[in-house]
Amino acid sequence: MKNMSLQIKPGEVHGLVGENGAGKSTLIKVLTGVHMPDKGEIWVDGVQKKFTKPSDARDAGIACVYQELNIVKLLSITDNIFIGRGIKNKLGLLNYEAMHKEAQNAMCALGHDIDPRRICGNLGMGLQQMIEIGKAIQLNSKLIIMDEPTSLLGEKEVFQLMSTVRKLKEQGVAILFVSHKLEELFEICDRVTVMRDGEHICTKKVSDMTNESLITAMVGRTLDDRFPKEFGVKGECMIRVENLNAGILRNVSFEAYGGQILGFAGLVGAGRTETMRAIFGADPIESGAIYIKGKKANINSPAQAVAQGIAFLTEDRKGQGLILSQAVSINLILASIKKFSKFGMLNNNAIHESSNRSIHSLRIKTPSNNEIAGQLSGGNQQKVVIGKWINTDADIYIFDEPTRGIDVGAKIEVYNIMNSLVKKGKCVIMISSELPEILGMSDRVIVMREGRVMAEIDRGSEHFNQESIMKAGWGGVLV
């Protein structure tokens, strides 16, 4: 971060955008006392402050709601709101009565009248996030930093979050809203600051900006089309799912074809990921049939799914996609390790050459194929996982939220990879919670709700628009 300046007024919702690696996280860390700046000053309410540890920032009234929530799932709402602090009675023991009351007040202020004794792990992601915001409110924070607050939320929860943000704004709380989703910024922010390469690019009123000008400022070049959709030739039916029941899934049926992208839309928790996990053999199936290229397939484990030519890019890149402690080259061959071994011994030359080819063709930014995967940026990690699956030469590629948490430039590259797969006649299934992405890239869309398929919409159909998909996702009937 170089010469970064930022001013946030009370009652302002201030957007912060930039590609991954632009320095947003560093800025947040400096503001919350996690990192010390080499040079520069922080002023709060006209007083210069120096943060040497996170509690300094907390005491100055700055709180942060991180993308990966800091919630202890086994503890109650109260315990989480008072984590590391607590109200004590005369004996020095925790005064739970007072704490529950305070916690309830904080949650009520956010519009959630909820029993503060409830265990957080049983609550939805949106509520867990509200608890984090409740923590900030209980601390009387003047500035709440929200780092990608909507990335884990469904549409309804996003709506609730937005109204909460507006409420906080009315109460005079300043909010720094970090997001990759431009629509949200335009909806909620007063001003937006753009960062690039650790520097301040511009701060403007939202009303003075457009989608295009914002993206241009972020990437430093013009992106004339956010969704570079290319069309393949519709091929044979690669996978047919009939009356699949598993967990929350109820009679899920659909078909996906080669040369096409099949989009899966729906709220978070609608059963999209569950459907794919069941098909991939990651979760057990109760009943139903899966046909791969017309033949009935019996898939009981991911290993069998891979053998059948299915690839599954999971939504949780770090938890389920990568071995962060292993080299990029090893991660790239992880799903096709047998191809690179003879009599059980690895062919290191072949691995070296193949991984360099992947790095080149997918434009993975890494010092070498020996670099530890954990060292790469989010977008490049995602490309490594995609490379892992392309190396299996699968026919069916399931991409679960493939562009989540990666920057605009990397998103375009991921779209282009999907395009090239489709052009090779492969079948791509894409789950996405971003409707523009669904509409921008899919040839056909399946909308799910509460474990069921609600609608199937072709690209040419009159229903191929945000409104219809939302309607179906909320349980409405399309006519």
Binding site: P302, A303, G319, I337, G344, M345, T392
Partner: protein, 330 residues
Amino acid sequence: MIKMKQFTIKGLLSKLGPLIGLLVLCVILSLTTEQFLSYSNFMNILKQASINCFISAGMLIVLITADIDLSVGSNCVLAACVMGVMMKNGIKNSILMMAAALVTGLICGYINGVLLTKLRLPHPFVSTLGMKNVTLGLALIITASTPIGFQNQGVDMVLALGAKTINGFPVSFIFVIIAFIIMHIFLSRSALGREIYCIGGNPEAARLSGINSGRVLRIVYALSGLLTGFAAIILVGRVSSANATAGTTYDTDAIAACIIGGASFMGGKGTMSGTMVGALLIAVIRNGLNLLGAQSDLQYVVIGLVIIIAVFIDVTREAMEKRAQRLATK
């Protein structure tokens, strides 16, 4: 570029930490005791280290998968007792006896793997702790809690592996070296070895990449068991007896050797060379303390402290590496 080099030298130094510790300890013992610096004493150390080396090799692959095997000591003892019981009952064919020891170890290990992956017991701590008691109990039952002597029973061939030397160099350690080279190649160059590291690094990602982690884990535990069978053969040769209570320190010594050598309870890391250094370090400490006239009670204290220090150094080193990487990417 120069900076890069400094980093690697630093990295090399920290990787060689246990080896440097071993050398420093040897120098100190050479200066403080008369007997330490001699060929015969060194050979003695190698002889003492052999059993732990075999068990540690198995423990290492288990630790790399982020699991633990607490049953190795008892498995080893059971395998030794099986040999003793065979001999007592007149089966004195050395090949058969050794095969029986290996099969016993293998089965014990495989059961550990099945308990973990098929019965889905929550953590190998549970299954292997159970097995530790089961196998120890079996060893006591089949020997009627009485040690079985192997001397003058016509089974010298069996004892040779653990007892014989070539120009003073213990045959057992030659086998250790061979085993370690094979295991090193297995871990670093084979597909299965790489899968073992990957399962330790991120089990869910490995599973979703189509790696059959259940099968890999069963192989890992079976291999660990097989290596305890080898250790049993060495044990019988070294002490010329099968004693059900001989293995009390084996589990912890093996874990200590691996951890000192750079393995982690979090899994995903550890090498054969590091484990070798760890095992030798423990043998040298025991040997040195013996020469200094210290009792075995003190040896426990010292080895305990060495484990704590080694892990502390490792944790600090990792934190420093992370910080260096952060600074480098800035």
